[in-house]
Amino acid sequence: MAKKIIGLCACPMGLAHTFMAAEALEKAAKEKGYDVKIETQGADGIQNKLTADDIKKADIIIHSVGITPEGMDRFEGYEVYEVELQELIKNPKGILEEIEEDKGFK
């Protein structure tokens, strides 16, 4: 079964960077053959909300946030990778590769 990546993206204005980062991560993760689900907390509220089940089953959890997101208690006790929005937009593949290395997936 494919491994699962979940992500949470949120930027201060919730207009541009949130969705650019989510798109970049989703594309890169799909190319690598992962199951992906990404929650965005933008100006239009929380979209594609991650459930407790999503978080439990995830192999990799990535947070790319410029603010303190809502619902952080969901992630209590889980290992989370934090990446800056700008870096995720620019180099999603490189970031995934480093995380994979850290996790020992390779």
């Binding site: 201060p12 204005m13 919730g14 207009l15 541009a16 960077h17 650019m20 946030v65 410029g66 603010i67 303190t68 952080m72 992630f75 209590e76 006790g77 889980y78 290992e79 989370v80 990778y81 934090e82 990446v83 800056e84 870096e87 937009i89 620019k90 180099n91 490189g94 970031i95 480093e98 995380i99 290395e101 850290d102």
Partner: protein, 409 residues
């Protein structure tokens, strides 16, 4: 590239991969502070938008639609007796909208302080932050002896500055209390529902009334006096700083922070917001324009194909008063493009102001243009800034292509 790993609620940050920065401790403290401020700002923005829009309509109705003389207030216009029937109803509506808009603006600092504090210290801090932010705007009256008698008087407000200070003070205070006060399980309810809130509210009261309000109020009066006494040159320096900060990150956090300061000045009618409203849209128009003129100017495309649609979107959004359309251009070649549009926006703003454009209303969309005093200088300033950006960027890119340092697809 920095990737941090942590277990939420348990461990501190750990750097993963090829972390390249040695002074990371410092950097992550700064990242944390800026994240809290950004959280507060993100909750404040909707208020500024709503208040701004309602306020805009309250000005457009009398001064654009009904053509009331701008030197008259709405009440003066009603008292003049010239406006009857439907016009009278519209004026009354405008008056209500203006009051409503100002009420909304009054919530900006409390919301900012509440959610900044919440981001640091959680729910208890949220309310304390809200109260602190409210008092920053509406200081608690204190008793003092005036002419041998006790009288109650409200001191100068500490404003946004006071809101920032109280939000951080209260946020970290609550966080510290929750960590330091250790009680047995039976007493947990006592701690969270009585002890921590009590200590927090007392702290807020004392800190706000005796420290933040006097210090913040004095600083606000000082800034205001300096800016006003510096006169014309002070206005220009303000315009330069404001337009540079506004243009810098295209609607990002620096822009919004600058916007808050500028909004405070323009609401109190201390200094107009002209420089900012021009700098909001100059980069977007300029960069958008560069995609339209490149073929005419240098006879070839200087961007990848996908940028041509982005260019048109960018210009369209600019006329709606939105800067974000230019982000793709800034991300593609930030080292050159960001300094370019910051400098050109400053030039454009200063040109417009020097020629006499004045805008008090905090909105740069095209529908706010009728509220500008001196629309021709305003448009000249916009044009100067945008055309400079477009021409310089096209020439620079063409030069790079010729040297083989840039390829376009």
């Amino acid at each position: 590239m920095t990737i941090k790993k942590r277990t939420i609620g348990v461990s501190e940050d750990k750097i993963v991969g090829k972390a390249n920065d040695l002074n990371d401790g410092k950097q992550s403290a700064w990242t944390e502070i800026s994240r809290h401020i950004m959280t507060g700002i993100s909750y404040m923005i909707p208020i500024l938008i709503m208040g701004g829009l309602v306020g805009a309509f309250s000005q457009i109705i009398p001064y654009v639609i009904l053509r009331v003389d701008p030197s008259l207030s709405i009440i003066d216009a009603l008292n003049s007796g010239q406006y009857t029937g439907f016009s009278e109803i519209l004026l009354k509506l405008a008056n209500v909208m203006s009051t409503f808009g100002f009420t909304l603006f009054g919530f900006a600092v409390p919301m900012f302080a509440a959610f900044t504090a919440n981001s640091i210290g959680g729910k208890t801090a949220l309310l304390a932050g809200f109260i602190g932010g409210y008092i920053a705007n509406n200081p608690v009256a204190k008793l003092s002896i005036v002419n041998g008698k006790w009288e109650s008087a409200a001191p100068v407000a500490s404003g946004f500055l006071g809101g920032v200070i109280i939000a951080f003070a209260v946020g970290y205070f609550v966080k510290w209390l929750n960590k330091k006060i250790k009680v047995s399980h039976n007493w947990l309810a006592f701690k969270t529902t009585f002890l921590v809130p009590l200590l927090t509210v007392l702290f807020t009261l004392i800190f706000m009334v005796y420290i933040v309000t006097p210090v913040g109020g004095a600083m606000n009066s000082l800034i205001k006096n300096v800016l006003q006494s510096a006169g014309k040159s002070g206005e220009m320096i303000y315009a330069v700083i404001l337009s540079a900060a506004t243009a810098f990150d295209l609607g990002g956090p620096v822009n919004k922070a600058a916007g808050f300061v500028a909004a405070a000045f323009t609401i109190e009618k201390t200094l107009p917001i002209t420089a900012r409203v021009i700098a909001i849209v100059t980069p977007s128009i300029g960069l958008g324009l560069s995609t339209l003129i490149d073929k005419k100017l240098v006879g070839r495309r200087v961007y990848d194909k996908q940028f041509y649609q982005a260019g048109k979107t960018s210009i369209f959004l600019a006329f709606m008063g939105i800067s974000e359309g230019a982000i793709p251009f800034a991300l593609e070649r930030p080292g050159f493009v960001i300094p370019l549009y910051v400098i050109c926006s400053v030039i454009g703003s200063v040109t417009a102001i020097a020629l006499g454009a004045v805008q008090w209303f905090p909105e740069s969309a095209i529908w706010a243009w009728p509220l500008i005093d001196g629309i021709v200088p305003y448009i000249i300033g916009l044009a100067v800034g945008s055309i400079l950006i477009a021409v310089i960027n096209v020439l620079h890119r063409n030069n790079l292509i010729k040297k083989g340092k840039l390829e376009v697809f």
